[in-house]
């Protein structure tokens, strides 16, 4: 995988890079799909092995979570476990409770009941800033770029608590190496970035703290299809190259299932389906019923 893929395609004007971007977009809906499906098969097999129970515990475990805002219960008895180094896609219609789920995991909403554990450590009801420090990074919907700061300052905020002076510099270098588009814009105000660049910035910023689990809320929201393909590609590479555990909340179920290992469908606050992503994507009845494609 070319590491500068998103940089190249972001520029857009360059003929070769734009072509590559478009090619990837086509591959996703066309022939590439089968190849991905096969990947998924093997990943899925690995998962059932792990899922066998005794061999390896989940990185992130959500058990019987009940949560909501101001008297409205948005989540009821939600249990999800995300295995290390996998992508879990959480799907469902508007108001299904997807965003509440992430906000509860990351501590912004206090659950009424249930537990959230990371590698066996109970994080339920801890403050958001402590949960980040424990290793769960949350990239919210709407991106939360700090527009008054520069690109570099945004990244530095992400690494503030984690590294010593040298470690921070190294993390910054890593981010620039991985995301050349950010290196090019490092001294610009973050408010000047495009939607796709902002999405890359917030993901890169979350990675500055070297999290174990990355929670992504609607990373494709408001992005052009070509950019969505790049962001999905990036998420996949984070799993494959860095072994990151990703929980991906998406309206765009098709794109999410194409890269995910496990698919979870929420409906009015309840888990209605937990299924291997490949199976869920192939099950026409389920797809039509819950996901509308």
């Amino acid at each position: 995988m070319p590491s500068s893929a998103e940089a190249g395609a972001e520029r857009g004007g360059g003929t070769s890079s734009a072509g590559a971007g478009a090619g990837r977009g086509r591959a996703q809906s066309g022939g590439g799909r089968e190849a991905r499906g096969r990947d998924k098969q093997s990943a899925g097999a690995g998962q059932t092995e792990r899922g066998g129970g005794t061999s390896r515990a989940a990185a992130l475990e959500v058990e019987h979570l009940e949560s909501g805002y101001a008297g409205v219960m948005a989540l009821r008895d939600v249990s999800i476990s995300a295995k290390p180094g996998t992508i879990t896609a959480v799907l469902g219609a508007n108001g299904a409770g997807k965003t509440t789920l992430l906000a509860t995991i990351s501590g912004f909403v206090r659950p009424r009941q249930g537990r959230v554990t990371l590698d066996g450590t109970d994080l339920t009801r801890r403050a958001p800033e402590e949960i980040v420090r424990a290793g769960i990074a949350h990239v919210p919907e709407g991106q939360a770029v700090i527009t008054e700061l520069t690109v570099e300052e945004n990244l530095r905020v992400g690494g503030l608590w984690r590294h010593g002076q040298a470690g921070r510099a190294a993390a910054l270098e890593d981010a620039y190496k991985r995301f050349p588009v950010l290196a090019a814009a490092r001294n610009r105000s973050a408010s000047t970035l495009s939607g796709g660049e902002r999405q890359i910035l917030v993901i890169a910023r979350a990675l500055m703290a070297s999290p174990k689990v990355l929670l992504l809320d609607e990373p494709s929201l408001g992005l052009a299809p070509r950019i969505v393909a790049q962001v999905m590609d990036l998420i996949q590479r984070l799993r494959d190259e860095s072994g990151l555990t990703v929980v991906l909340v998406e309206q765009n179920a098709r794109s999410a299932l194409a890269i995910a290992d496990l698919g979870v469908v929420l409906n009015v606050g309840r888990v209605v389906v937990i299924e291997e992503a490949a199976v869920l994507g192939a099950d026409e009845a389920l797809r039509k019923h819950y996901l509308g494609f």
Binding site: S106, F108, A127, P128, E129, V132, R133, A137, H138, V139, P140, G142, Q143, A144, V145, I146, T147, E148, L149, E153, R156, V157, G158, L160, W161, R162, S191, R205, A206, M208, A209
Partner: protein, 292 residues
């Protein structure tokens, strides 16, 4: 011409005190969106503490340092105890709390130190300075007043710009939600903001009290002018606070010098109303485009 020069230089010295109060208000406003009406009262209390130390030890500078430290602690304690519960509540709650603090602190100062006017020493001589034989209208102490505020403002700017503490302060002020997401302990950062504001307010109290005398409500009028300076600067901008203070100080000194000193306080209020009516966001406000 000499007169004009004198009024201008004298205005700069006063203006820097307003700027200091404005700066402390801006620091708190940026972090918590709260206007601290008790900033002047806090400065009165720390200046009384300075006076006690000076009377005890005979050293102005010991009193000076103790007052600054007291301002730092007072700001932090107030944020932790009475402000924390009203953060993220409707703005009126905070208004009521800080006005209540104003009354409370001035009352406590009155109980402890009494209501009489006390003179407060200056750091340096107040004899007028001359350039050749032309009187400049300012003293060595006025130069100290202006440079002390300038030094603190520059130190603050450096803190914000070049340190990781400053980055935390800025991130928390601009976008507390994103800052918490990234592991910044925003609560502690807010406490630090209030502590720094307390320190700068204490500095203003020390610098202005030789002119106003010290009594429980001696900072009230200075607070109003400092607030005016902050509003001129846009409440959000530290640089605006300094420039706003300087503009106000110089203009008020012209009013006092050319039109009569009894007009100064009225003119200060007129300026505040004019700014609020004509340009409530201040002369230096940058409207940030927020796209989501």
């Amino acid at each position: 011409m000499t007169e004009f020069l004198q009024f201008t230089l004298g205005g700069v010295s006063f203006g820097m005190v307003y700027a200091a109060i404005a700066l402390s208000l801006v620091l708190i406003w940026r972090g918590t969106r709260i206007l601290n009406y008790s900033q002047g009262a806090m400065a009165v209390l720390t200046t009384y503490i300075a006076l006690t130390v000076i009377n005890h030890t005979g050293s102005y500078w010991e009193g000076f340092v103790v007052a600054l430290a007291a301002g730092l602690v007072l700001g932090a304690v107030i944020e932790r105890t009475v402000i924390r519960p009203v953060e993220n509540k409707p703005p009126l709650n905070a208004v009521v709390v800080t006005i209540g603090l104003l009354v409370l602190i001035e009352g406590i100062a009155g109980i402890i130190y009494g209501g009489q006017y006390r003179s407060f020493p200056t750091a340096f001589s107040v004899t007028g300075l001359h350039a050749r034989s032309v009187p400049l209208g300012i003293s060595r102490n006025d130069v100290f007043v202006a440079s002390a505020v300038l030094v603190v403002a520059l130190a603050l700017a450096a803190l914000f710009r070049f340190t990781s503490v400053g980055l935390r302060l800025r991130a928390s002020a601009f976008n507390p939600y994103a800052a918490r997401l990234l592991g910044v302990r925003v609560g502690r950062v807010l406490t630090l903001g209030w502590a720094l504001a307390g320190l700068i307010g204490a500095l203003a109290g020390l610098l202005v009290s030789p002119d106003t005398f010290l009594y429980p409500s001696s900072m009230d009028s200075i607070f109003v002018l400092g607030f005016t300076a902050a509003v001129i600067g846009g409440l959000d901008s530290p640089v605006g606070a300094i420039v706003g203070g300087l503009i106000l100080g110089v203009v008020l000194n012209y009013v006092g010098g050319y039109l009569g000193s009894n007009l100064v306080s009225i003119f200060g209020l007129v300026a505040l109303m004019a700014v609020l009516l004509i340009r409530p966001s201040g002369l230096f406000s940058v409207t940030h485009e927020r796209r989501v």
